[in-house]
Each structure stands twice: as structure tokens, then as C-alpha cells.
Symmetry: C2
Subunit: 191 residues, 2 copies
């Protein structure tokens, strides 16, 4: 019998079961996430998230998610969506938050609220190809998290540490990831 024990909206019973299952069969932990993107015009394009592979099976999301990206007028777009580097901040923000909340739940710490503010500094000369010494991406990113939880300052500090230690997107941004890009001409009939 599974006992449902919800902490912070996370089913801690299922979380424990998942960890036990992975201990017995690590292949369950192998995930492959997917996205497809379709360019519209200028800085405007749309990403669709449809399915992923995990726990040895392909899983469709309940419905497709569409993420519109564009550039503001200052960057020659029509401002129909957050721009790609803003989307990167959203990925980081959501990941740190989810990681904090899940790890708090696993430790039995009730969290009442989490808010964060992020800033990333970027020199446009990289993107524009105006300099070989200026990097294209963020020089640095600052994240301020505010947490309201049933916990001492020491536990709060530990949760902030755990969020960074175990957040996939924090790792992806803080450390190098091998990205392999291949390009091919489009077959006329596919678009």
C-alpha cells in the first residue's frame, strides 16, 4: 500500500518509491528530453515541447507546450515573446525553485513561498560578431532567492545550497555541456 504524503505539493511517498526503484535499476533514471523549433520571421520563432523518454518509455505531455521567442524592438524584433537569453533565465529560475522545493519536501521541510529575481549581464558585441574577446553569452548571472519555510536560518541556507548542488539547469549553465549541432538543407516538401 502506498501512503500519500504531500509536502510542498510533492508526493513524498512516490518520491521515495522512485528513488528505491532507481536504486534497484539505474536505467530507470535515464531521461531524454526533446524540443522542436520552427522559425517564423526575424527574431520570432516557436518551440514546441511534445514528449520525452524516461523510466524506459516514451511519454507524451498532457498537451503540447509552445514557447514563443522574439526580440524587443531595440534588438530588431517585434517583442512577441521573451528573447532566448531571457528564456535561459526562466529555465534557471524554475529549476532552482523546483529543486529547492523537492529537496525540502524530501527532508520534511514545509515551504510556504519561494520567489526569485535574476539578472544576467551580456555584451552584445559577442552576438554581433564585433569582437573575438567578448563572450556571446552571459558574463555572469545573479540570483536572489527569498524563501518562507518552517525552518531555521541554518536549514534555509542548506536548502539554497541543495538547490544549486542538484539543479540540472544550474549545472547546465555553470558547467560546460557538449552541444553537437548538425545542419542540413531542408527538403522542400517538409515545410
Amino acid at each position: 500500500m502506498t501512503i500519500t504524503r504531500m509536502i510542498n505539493g510533492v508526493d513524498v511517498g512516490r518520491l521515495t518509491e522512485t528513488i528505491d526503484a532507481i536504486k534497484h535499476d539505474p536505467e530507470i533514471a535515464t531521461f531524454r528530453f526533446r524540443a522542436s523549433n520552427h522559425w517564423d520571421s526575424g527574431g520570432h520563432n516557436m518551440t514546441t515541447i511534445h514528449d520525452f523518454f524516461g523510466a524506459k518509455q516514451n511519454v507524451d505531455h498532457r498537451h503540447d507546450f509552445h514557447i514563443s521567442a522574439d526580440e524587443p524592438d531595440m534588438l530588431l524584433g517585434n517583442d512577441q515573446g521573451a528573447n532566448p537569453v531571457e528564456l535561459a533565465l526562466s529555465a534557471l529560475a524554475s529549476c532552482l525553485t523546483t529543486t529547492l522545493v523537492y529537496h525540502a519536501a524530501a527532508r520534511g521541510v514545509t515551504v510556504r513561498a519561494v520567489e526569485s529575481e535574476l539578472e544576467g549581464d551580456l555584451d552584445l558585441r559577442g552576438f554581433l560578431g564585433m569582437s573575438d574577446t567578448v563572450r556571446c553569452g552571459y558574463k555572469n548571472i545573479g540570483v536572489k532567492m527569498r524563501v518562507d519555510a518552517d525552518a531555521s536560518q541554518e536549514i534555509l541556507d542548506e536548502l539554497i545550497e541543495l538547490a544549486q548542488k542538484h539543479s540540472p539547469v544550474f549545472d547546465i549553465i555553470s558547467n560546460p555541456v557538449n552541444v553537437m549541432v548538425t545542419g542540413e538543407p531542408m527538403v522542400a516538401s517538409t515545410h
Copy 2:
């Protein structure tokens, strides 16, 4: 007089003006992008993109952009949005696409269509804190881009190279970024 010359939906006249302005005053290229995030419950949280700083001024987006993140049922969420690592793929996809399109426009290459598919491999044991040797983020990411353009195979290959060389999010994911996270207790009245 500014001559409007649109290629791929990008105003190449303004692009040239921007580059010239930055050559004269590199501080114009200093940008700071921002995001704020508010946790809802479990794996569900919402990022808001409101404004940014660039070209020596603070600029509000035409309206706020809201990006919902959640986890699928298999990862103990309610599937109300793409999850954070899927959002990271969307940031990468949109950035490679925009970079390719803008650099094609700057070179006078007309692009008719760009599509891409991305996959990222991730071992959940990192996120779950089950291993100190398994990384939390993607082990690797594969990107397949398909481009339909008025260009030879050689030019297409060059555009794919330029997309990687100058994409801010490709840089952010491929190379380390310093991320500084600070945490503080929330003042009760702020939420």
C-alpha cells in the same frame, strides 16, 4: 536618411546602424536581462519577464511575458508547463535560430525556413542526489537544424557555424557561466 532593407524579417539598415553606434560607443552594447519567478506548488512555478537594460536605458517589454514551468506526472508534477530542462532546450533552439537568421540577413542571404529538433540526455540520479559522480544537468545535447535558404551548401554550412559561434545561449550552455545565488528569508508581508 535611413533606408529600410528587410532581409529575413530583420531590418538590415538598423542592424548596420546599431553596429556603427557600438563601434563609436561600446557601452551601448552593455545589456542586463532580468527575470522573476514565483513558486506555486510542487513542480509548478511561473517566471515573469518585464524589462531589461540596454543601450544605456531601462526598457519595458511591450507587455510582460509569463513562462509556466511544471513537471510531468512521472516527475511528480501536474504537467502544467514544460519543465526547466525543456525550457533550457527551448532557449537554445530559439537562440541558434535567431542567430542564424540575423547573421544570414547581415550577409544578404535570404532564409526561407529554419526548423530544429533538440534532444538532451539526463540521468535523474543527479537531481535526486543519489550519486556524486552523475552530473545533474545534460550529459550532452544534440541539435539538428534544417535550413531552406537561397544559398549553396558551403554557405549553409557557414551559417550553421555562425549560429554556434555567435549564439549567446549556445555559449551559456557550452561554456561555464558564473552564477551567484544568494538566499534570504522572506519578509512575511511580501507574499
